[in-house]
Symmetry: none
Amino acid sequence: MPRKPDIAQQLLDSALSLFAERTYEGTQMPAVAQRAGVGVGSIYRYFPSKEALGNAAFQYAKRGLLDQLNDALVEGGPVHTVREEFGRFWLGFTRYAGSAHDAFVFLEHQQHDTFLAPESQALAVEVDRVASDFIERGQRSGEIRDGDPQQLVALAIGAFTGLVKHLRPGGIGKLSPASLKVAEDAVWDLLHRKADS
Amino acid sequence: MPRKPDIAQQLLDSALSLFAERTYEGTQMPAVAQRAGVGVGSIYRYFPSKEALGNAAFQYAKRGLLDQLNDALVEGGPVHTVREEFGRFWLGFTRYAGSAHDAFVFLEHQQHDTFLAPESQALAVEVDRVASDFIERGQRSGEIRDGDPQQLVALAIGAFTGLVKHLRPGGIGKLSPASLKVAEDAVWDLLHRKADS
Amino acid sequence: MPRKPDIAQQLLDSALSLFAERTYEGTQMPAVAQRAGVGVGSIYRYFPSKEALGNAAFQYAKRGLLDQLNDALVEGGPVHTVREEFGRFWLGFTRYAGSAHDAFVFLEHQQHDTFLAPESQALAVEVDRVASDFIERGQRSGEIRDGDPQQLVALAIGAFTGLVKHLRPGGIGKLSPASLKVAEDAVWDLLHRKADS
Amino acid sequence: MPRKPDIAQQLLDSALSLFAERTYEGTQMPAVAQRAGVGVGSIYRYFPSKEALGNAAFQYAKRGLLDQLNDALVEGGPVHTVREEFGRFWLGFTRYAGSAHDAFVFLEHQQHDTFLAPESQALAVEVDRVASDFIERGQRSGEIRDGDPQQLVALAIGAFTGLVKHLRPGGIGKLSPASLKVAEDAVWDLLHRKADS
DNA sequence: TATGAATGAGGATTCATTCAT
DNA sequence: AATGAATGAATCCTCATTCAT
C-alpha cells in the first residue's frame, strides 16, 4: 500500500485550508508544504504547478460536496415531498460544511477566478445543475416559488454560505441543533411558495 | 477645472474593480494604475502602500454601503411596518449593488482578510449592527422569526450576495423588476415569521 | 542684481551638507530642494542633472579649499621657514574646515566616486600638487623627512581629515586654540625630519 | 566538502568591496550577488535586507580589525617600550589593511551613517577605546605628547587611513618595506613627545 | 524518493526628471 | 521663472520552481 496518495491528500487539505484563510494568490507554496508536513520540493512530485494544485484542490472540494449531496439524497431511501428533499440537500450541505469547512469556504470564494481551468469550472456548474433540477421539480409541483431557478439557487446557496462564513471560527458544527433548525426553516421559506402568495 | 483631486477617487474605483475581479492579493499595482489611467508612481502620491490602498478601498466601499442604507431608510419618510422597513433595506442594498457592483462583491469577499486594519474591521461591523438592530426590532414585534439576529443577518445578506454574484456580468441592474420582486419576497420570507409556524 | 546666483549657491550649500551627511547616492533631489528652500523643479533650472549638481558641488568645494590655501599662503607676506609655510597650510585647511565643514567632509569622502567627471577629478589633483610641491621643497631644504612626497601628503591630510571627522558635531571651530596647537604640532612632527633621525 | 556555508562569507566580501568602491547607497543588490557568484535571491537567504547586510559587513570588518590588533599586540610576547607597543599597533593595522583593503576603506568611510544599527556603532567605539587606552598609557609614561587621547587617535588613524586610500589600486601590500618604515616613523612622530618640546 | 538551498522573473516601491500651470 | 504633481525606469525584495544531494 503506497504512501503517495496520502501525501497528495495532505497537500490538498493543506492547500484548501490555506486558500480559505488567505486566498489562492495569497498562499505561498512553502506554506502549503509546511502545513502538509512535507518539503516544498515534494509538492512538485504530485502537482506540476501551483495552478495545478489550485485546480486539483478546487475539483477535489467540489467533488466532495457533490458526493455528499448524492449520498444525502440517496441514503435514507426515496423522498416523498419536496420539503423532505430539501431536507436532504440541507443535510448534504451541512455535513460537507461541517466536515470540510475550509473546502466549503474556498469553493464559495472562487467564481471567476483566473487560475481555474475550464475543467474545474465545468465541475462547478454540476452542483448548480443538481440544485436547479430540484428547484424546477419543486416549481412544477407548486411547492417552490416561481422565478428563475438559477436565481433561486443563488439565493439559497448564498444564504447557506453566509451562515457558514458567519460561523467561521467554530464552523457549522458548533451550532446547536435548534439554531440549525431555524436556519433550515428560514432557507426553506426562502424557496417555499406560500399558499396565499 | 482641475481633475487632480479625482485621481485618488479613480484609484479607489480601479482598485475596487480589480480586487473584485482578481482578489486583493492577485492584483498588481501597475494594473491598478493602468485602469485608473495614471502612472504607477502616482498611486504612492495618494496611498503609502498597497495595504493602505486596500484598506482605503474597503472603507470607502463600506461607507458607501452604509450611506446608501441610511439614505434609503430615511428618504421616504417614516416607515409603518417591519415589512416596509425591510423594503427600505432591500432598496439600499439594491441601489448600492447596482451602482457599485464591484465594491459590493469586494466587500463580501473580505472578512478576516490579512490586510484589513482594525479600523477597517471596525467599520465592517457597523453594517451588521444596523442590520441586526432591525432584526431585533422585528423580532420584538413578532414579525421576524426567532433566532440569533446575527445569524439571520448572515443568512439574509448571504442570500443577497449570492444573487449579486450570480448576476456578475450584468450586475443587478440587468434584472427585471419582476425578478427583483421575486428575490425581495424570497429574502423577506427568509426572515418573516409565519403565522402558523 | 539677479537673484539667480543666490539660488544656485543655496543649492550647492544644501547639496554639500546633505552629501556630507548621507552620501551623494543617499541624497534625494527633493531633499536638496527642501533644504535650499526651493521647489524640486527649480534645481533643474540651475543644474541639468543630479550628476551635474554633484560635480558642481565637488568643484565648488575643491575650489574653495584651493582659494583658502592660496589666501593663507599669500596673505601674511613671504614666509621664511618651512615650518612657517606649514603654518600657512594649516591655517588654510583650518579656516576652510571651520567655515565649510560639510564641504570638507564631502571632499575627503570622494575619491574614486562614480559620478565624478574627469574635470572634477582634475581639480582634485590640484590640492595634492600644491601640497606635494611644498613637501618637495621642504625635503630639499632638509626639514621634511625623506620619502614619497605624495605619500607624506596623504599621511598629513589624512591626519587632518581624521581630526575634522572626529570633531563632527561641533566642527573644528569648537576646538580650543591649545588643542588646535597640539594638533598642528603633531602633524608638523609627522612631516618634520628630526635632527638625529 | 560543502561550499554552502561559504556563501554568507562570499556575500560579505562582495558587499564589502562594493561598498568600499561605490558606497553603501550606491551599491545594488544584484551587483553584490553577481560579485559573490550567486543569484540575487540567495542574498535574502542569508541576510534579511540590504540594511542587515550592510550592518553585518560593517561588524564583520570591525571585528576583523579588532582581532588583528589583538593578535598583533599579543603574539610577539610582552612589549617593553611604548614605541614597541606602537609598532604592534602599526603591524595590526598594516596587516589588516593589507589583507582586507576593501574592508578597511569601507570602515573608515562609515561614521554616522544612516544604515548603521546601534549594535554596529557600539562595535565601532571598541577600536577607538583600545587605541586611546594605549595613548593614555603612553602619556602617563611621558612618551606620548599631551592632549586629548581621542583627538590623537583621530589624527593617527586618520593618517594611516590617508595612506591606505592613497595606495588604493595596489593596496598597502604594494608598498616597499622602506616606504612602510617611513610611514610608521612619521605616524609615531605624530604621537611621540619630543624631549625638548 | 524526499528535501530545501538556490535561482531569477515578477511584484512593490522609490526617486530623478519632466511639464502643465 | 518657479513650482510640485505626475511619470516610469530602476531598485529592493518575494516566491514559484528547479535540481543536487
